[in-house]
């Protein structure tokens, strides 16, 4: 799947970029940390046992997906999450879940109405 994602990256749509960015535990963690307050990239990097460059790459992936925004303040680059983008991703999954929950409820109704055989009313 990862290789597939690299190959497909040229024709990725915005929403694909969002889900690919969220499909990594470190990146989800960065989003969570910067949701309530801004953090510099170096402050973020302190939390992980990986190189500063590796953290920078994760931040870049999140930025391309519009999940975070970088703001320059003095000599520092501060990172904060975009709640709107995150909300959009969540809404997609939630909407699809809703489709199937209501389908199952309708099947339940049909089976109640027609307990014997699958015939028309």
């Amino acid at each position: 799947m990862c290789n597939q994602m690299v190959v497909d990256s040229e024709r990725d749509t915005e929403v694909d970029r969002i889900f690919q960015a969220l499909a990594d535990a470190t990146r989800r963690d960065i989003v969570a940390r910067t949701l309530t307050h801004e953090l510099s990239v170096s402050a973020i990097a302190e939390h992980y046992a990986m190189s500063f460059a590796a953290v920078q790459k994760h931040v870049a992936v999140l930025e391309r997906a519009s999940l975070i925004t970088k703001v320059r303040r003095g000599r520092e680059q501060l990172v904060h999450s975009n709640a709107d983008t995150l909300r959009r991703a969540a809404q997609l999954l939630d909407a699809y879940e809703k489709i199937w929950h209501s389908r199952a409820a309708r099947i339940g109704d049909i089976l109640l109405a027609e307990p014997e055989k699958g015939t028309e009313q």
Binding site: T13, A90, I107, L111, P115
Partner: protein
């Protein structure tokens, strides 16, 4: 009583829903196999489905459309991959053009449905695999119209896997 659980896997873009029905496995199978029953639940009430064709066998085709509130038609098609009545059913689902034929035969979502009966209760599990999040977006459009979402609760849900201490 219908008991439902569902699982959203962001990493693999799969969606699993499990429902239990107080009915025999043959009855639940019928709601898939019988197009007149299928079209009573496949589309939401605001987008009811009509199946013009349903060849319920391996390699069979289905053609359907869903009619929206303004009379607009959203067309779709299935290719039946495998059928093992009354236990398992696997198909690809895709979008169709105005002529009812596939827009892009490769642009499909795979759906695997399994039924298990135990003591008069039939458990139905449906696993949908999306090839891209873009598909998820398209498929979700009609679901979006069904209700509002509680944004902050959903964000918590997405971030719930995040357990690194601060």
């Amino acid at each position: 009583m219908t008991v439902i659980s569902s699982h959203k896997d962001v990493n693999n873009l799969t969606f699993t829903v499990t429902a239990e029905f107080t009915a025999g496995v043959d009855q639940v199978w019928q709601v898939w196999e019988n197009p007149r029953l299928l079209e009573r639940w496949w589309g939401p009430p605001t987008w009811p489905a009509t199946f013009d064709k349903l060849e319920f066998r391996r390699g069979g085709d289905a053609r359907y459309y869903m009619t929206g509130p303004e009379g607009e038609k959203a067309r779709g098609w299935w290719k039946i991959i495998d059928v093992s009545a009354p236990r398992r059913f696997e198909f690809d689902d895709g979008f169709a053009g105005d002529d009812g034929e596939p827009l892009d035969p490769a642009d499909t979502t795979r759906c695997v449905v399994t039924l298990e009966e135990d003591g008069g209760i039939t458990r139905m599990t449906s696993v949908t695999t999306f090839k891209s999040a873009d598909q998820l977006e398209q498929m979700s459009e009609m679901g979006m119209e069904e209700g509002t979402t509680e944004a902050m609760a959903q964000i918590d849900e997405i971030l719930s896997e995040t357990s690194v201490s601060r």
